[in-house]
Amino acid sequence: MGKPNDLVQGTLDLLILKTILLEPMHGWAIAKRIQQMSGEVLQVQQGSLYPALHRLEQQGWIKAKWAESETGRQAKFYALTGAGRKQLEAETANWNRLSAAIDLIVAEA
């Protein structure tokens, strides 16, 4: 396993968007979900997660809401916006294209 924050630049955005597609989540939960879903391969460092979340928010792809979390504390829940949904589609398509291309090369070798 490589260093956890060795994520390809831009891929983290895709992962975050994908993770909160179904329901709004707070930062901690997003990191945990990515970790679980990837079979503990991908560990998102706080140092990357929060700047990424804030960047996405500034760009209008996700929006944040303060709400009571399952522990009864106030937490910041991130949800996808309409623009974010489109962005997710675009980035997914992009990713598929890219990974297919890489696959072709790697499989060839």
Binding site: Y50, L53, Q58, G60, W61, R73, A75, T81, A83
Partner: protein, 884 residues
């Protein structure tokens, strides 16, 4: 809709920044707590769990920074932080900040003022329709080619131009230089003397001016047989008629004739060639037909509107051809111009103001440059003091750009504060100017507007960059370690920065020298102007203008009676030593010249003519004004009306036209009348800056002239005579106004006002820059001495004598001053050539001015250097060595 979300986000981040910061902290804390809980759940102790979570979390400050780094407006936040730092740094040295801001405010204020004036007066288009098509037309080559480049026009020439031209849409005419009008109301209102102008009916439509009330002139108004009509300016209507619209179609008395007020001009309208004009009347109605058709009587200004696409040069060629044909058809009349010249109206209006304004603008530019250099110098000095701090910050990883940005922000703060002060100064200066110089061409158009504000903003940025970049050039020093070592145990400071400061100083001194030289030349020229011999007494002489118009004064005998009774009664006043009446006193202007012949001489060849300035004068005028009678006597006061056949000539008239002859007893033929020359009087000047010209004095008591200047000479305070004399005039004619009551000194002061204005302003600028240069010298030398305290201490401890130290430090300071002086003198020689045309009786390379400036500058420089040098020589070596 994403942009909407983004906009919302932007606004949120702009105004809810503090809140967002708190929320971020909360979010991160939440994350940390969850991690701790998870760790505890995994079996760690509370303490272990916290430490592990923190470890995994990394540097929370950095994380916070990074998250915040993604926010909008991060640049604004950085800038605000810089502003805060800058304010704090400046606040720590309030003296420095105050001086720098004051210096910048003066520099920027002076520049904004001059820019406003130059733009409004020279560059802003005239407020008329299609102003580029408007030209002023003159006759050229009347009698003498060289002497008459821009001659006013005759009515006859104008008629031909109007009829034959192919290049103008329309062409109109107006009395040159305006005229004096006596305005009196029907209802016993006070009579008033006003400036007005006679013009053709089409002049206002040609300019594109429509009356705000009533109607304009029509062709029917503009003829002899029409009823008198008058247009009032807005100012006159408000002031004299209380802004009452009912004045339209009422009648007023102008020069005792009845005129109907047909309209009021809009408030923005200012008569282009003379801002003092308050009313307009139709010229063909006012002036007799022979005057309007004359080919010799030059007294009109001609304004034309060119056809689209036609240039002033084409119009010049067109009209010159017509003039030439007219001239050739009347070869016996040399008073007809041989050519014509048309130049843009705006250029014509500001031609005299242009050079002085640009000179003053250049001077303020120099002042600003000096101010910036000074501020840069102060910043360099301060940068040197803070060198250690900066070196430490750099060693700790402070970005160089970040430090530069801080420096720039500081100078920007200074420049902005200075700029704000400068705008206030400029505003006050412009208000003051409008009050003191209403005679300046287009002064009414001078206002601070948007463009001026943009200019100011640009100036502020430029100053900030200039001062900031030069000021932080020293902090570019890459040798970090050396700098740290040097400042921890300094023997002497780095030479680079000292050299830079000395270079700045030399430039500063050089610019100051240029300003001082120019100011010196103008001041000297002004002194010459003020002390130029007018050829008459100027002390304790009172002048006032009186004009007799219309009614009973159409009778020549009435005029003669009036003048002689007035003079008799004025002379009888206690304290009055002499009184006289003349068309215009010395210094009151050129007025008019006319052709003359000397009867005893052979007639002039056809097509040639002799001209001389003439003055109608009463016999007692010469005695009253102290103009010496060199030969013969004055005009016989007993000879009146058609019997008045005597004349007096000036010395230069005799020298030029009757050389080697006895002028007494010779005869002049003027306008068909033959006059005997009975005396020769001393020369006088019609303007302080002009050499005396040949002049002939014609008898007032012939009854032809109807207006002129009454002069009263008294043994003591002559101004006290003004009221008694005015009372005499009132008792003789209740409706007769008196105007321009002033002493000879005031009159001459007014005619040299331009020169005094330019010289004074430039002197103020020069003084200001001298002060700045002195402050700069003082500052640099003090800094050098402070830097070298321990070195000097060692020298003294090793036996250097006090005077040696003094001399060395003095020389250190004087060297850049000397270099600047040499550079400045060289540049001044060039600058002086540029202003040569503004000088009177003074050479551009006037040695006394150059020497005086050099002496004064060296003196000031030495004085500025003396204090730090003295301090250095008085150093206590023990204390000096312990300072670090």
């Amino acid at each position: 809709m994403r942009w909407l979300a983004q906009l919302r986000m932007r606004m949120l981040m702009l105004f809810g920044r503090g809140n967002a910061r708190a929320r971020l902290d909360e979010e991160l804390r939440d994350h940390l707590e969850r991690q701790i809980e998870e760790n505890i759940a995994a079996g760690m102790t509370a303490e272990e769990a916290r430490l592990a979570a923190l470890r995994e979390f990394g540097n929370p400050a950095l994380l916070r920074e990074q998250a915040r780094g993604t926010w909008n407006w991060i640049w604004l936040e950085g800038m605000l932080r810089d502003v805060r730092y800058g304010m704090r740094t400046l606040g720590r040295t309030p003296g420095f900040a105050a001086i720098a801001i004051l210096v910048m405010a003066l520099g920027i204020g002076a520049n904004v003022t001059m820019f406003t004036i130059v733009r409004s007066v020279l560059l802003k288009p005239l407020p008329f329709a299609e102003p580029n098509q408007l030209v002023m037309v003159y006759e050229r080559g009347v009698v003498d080619e060289a002497d008459s480049q821009f001659n006013v026009v005759t009515g006859g020439m104008f008629t031909e131009w109007k009829r034959q031209n192919k290049t103008f849409q329309d062409i109109g005419l107006a009395g040159a230089g305006g005229s004096e009008f006596n305005l009196s109301g029907a209802g016993g209102q006070l009579p008033e003397k006003l400036h007005g102008v006679n013009c053709t009916w089409n002049l206002l439509p040609l300019l594109g001016v429509k009356p705000a009330l009533g109607r304009g002139f029509t062709a029917d108004d503009d003829q002899l047989s029409a009823n008198g009509t008058v247009l009032l300016t807005w100012g006159l209507w408000k002031r004299r008629f209380g802004g009452d619209p009912a004045i339209i179609n009422q009648s007023v008395h102008i020069n005792t004739r009845s005129y109907i007020v047909i309209g009021v001009l809009p408030a923005w309208f200012v008569y282009p060639e003379d801002p003092a004009v308050q009313l307009l009347t139709p010229v063909y109605h006012d002036k007799p037909a022979d005057r309007m058709n004359s080919l010799g009587n030059h007294q009109f200004e001609v304004i034309g509107r060119l056809r689209p696409g036609v240039t002033a040069e084409q119009a010049t060629a067109d009209l010159a051809l017509i003039a030439r044909r007219l001239h050739d058809a009347h070869l016996d009349n040399p008073l007809i111009g041989k050519a014509a010249v048309a130049r843009p109206l705006l250029e014509d209006m500001v031609v005299d103001a242009r050079r002085p304004l640009y000179v003053l603008f250049a001077a303020t530019g120099c002042v600003l440059l000096i101010a910036c250099l000074n501020v840069a110098n102060l910043l360099v000095a301060r940068g040197a003091v803070r060198r250690k701090e900066q070196a430490i910050r750099m060693a700790l990883g402070g970005g160089r750009l970040r430090l530069l940005r801080e420096n720039l922000m500081e100078s920007l703060l200074l420049a902005v504060a200075g700029g704000a002060g400068g705008i206030a100064l400029a505003w006050a200066a412009i208000e003051w100017l409008a009050k003191t110089r209403p005679d300046l061409s287009r002064v009414e158009a001078v206002h601070i507007d948007g463009v001026v504000l943009v200019f100011t903003a640009g100036l502020i940025v430029l100053c900030a960059l200039f001062a900031g970049v030069i000021g932080s050039m020293v902090s570019r020093d890459a040798r970090l370690l050396a700098s740290l070592q040097e400042s921890s145990r300094a023997a002497s400071a780095g030479q680079g920065r000292v050299r830079l400061r000395k270079g700045l100083l030399a430039v500063e001194v050089g610019l100051t020298v240029v300003l001082l030289v120019c100011a010196g030349l103008l001041l000297k020229s002004y002194e010459r102007l003020r002390s130029s011999d007018m050829g008459c007494t100027t002390h304790n002489v009172l002048t006032m203008r009186i004009g007799l118009f219309g009614g009973r004064y159409n009778d020549r005998a009435e005029k003669v009676n009036f003048f002689s009774e007035l003079l008799t009664r004025v002379r009888a006043l206690p304290g009055v030593e002499g009184a006289g009446f003349v068309q215009a006193v010395p210094g009151q202007g050129y007025w008019g010249d006319g052709p003359f012949e000397i009867v005893e001489h052979p007639p002039q060849p056809v097509g040639q003519m002799q001209l001389a300035i003439y003055r109608w004068a009463d016999p007692g005028y010469f005695a009253a004004m102290g103009i010496p009678i060199l030969r013969g006597r004055s005009i016989d006061p007993g000879k009146r009306l058609d019997g008045a056949d005597e004349s007096v000539i000036s010395k230069s008239f005799a020298d030029q036209h009757l050389p080697g002859e006895d002028p007494i007893g010779k005869h002049l033929r003027v306008d068909g009348h033959v006059l005997t020359i009975v005396g020769v009087v001393g020369d006088t000047r019609y303007a302080p800056a002009e050499d005396p010209r040949p002049m002939e004095y014609l008898p007032l008591y012939s009854g032809f002239p109807n207006n002129g200047t009454l002069v009263i000479r008294s043994s003591r305070d002559v101004e006290q005579q003004a009221l008694p004399v005015q009372r005499i005039v009132q008792s003789m004619d209740r409706d007769l106004p008196v105007s321009d009551v002033m002493t000879m000194e005031q009159l001459l002061g007014k005619s040299t006002m331009d020169a005094s204005f330019d010289a004074t302003l430039l002197a103020v600028f020069a003084g200001l820059s001298l002060l700045l240069a002195a402050v700069g010298l003082f500052g640099v030398l003090s800094y050098i001495v402070a830097q070298r305290t321990s070195e000097i201490g060692i020298r003294i401890a090793l036996g250097a004598r006090r005077e040696q130290v003094l001399r060395k430090v003095m020389l250190d300071g004087l060297r850049p001053a000397l270099l600047g002086l040499v550079l400045g003198l060289a540049a001044s020689a060039g600058a002086a050539k540029e202003i040569a045309s503004m000088l009177y009786g003074t050479e551009a390379l006037d040695m006394s001015v150059f020497a005086g400036v050099s002496g004064a500058l060296l003196l000031v420089a030495a004085a500025a250097c003396l204090v730090p040098a003295w301090r250095a020589s008085r150093l206590d070596p023990m204390r000096a060595l312990r300072t670090e």
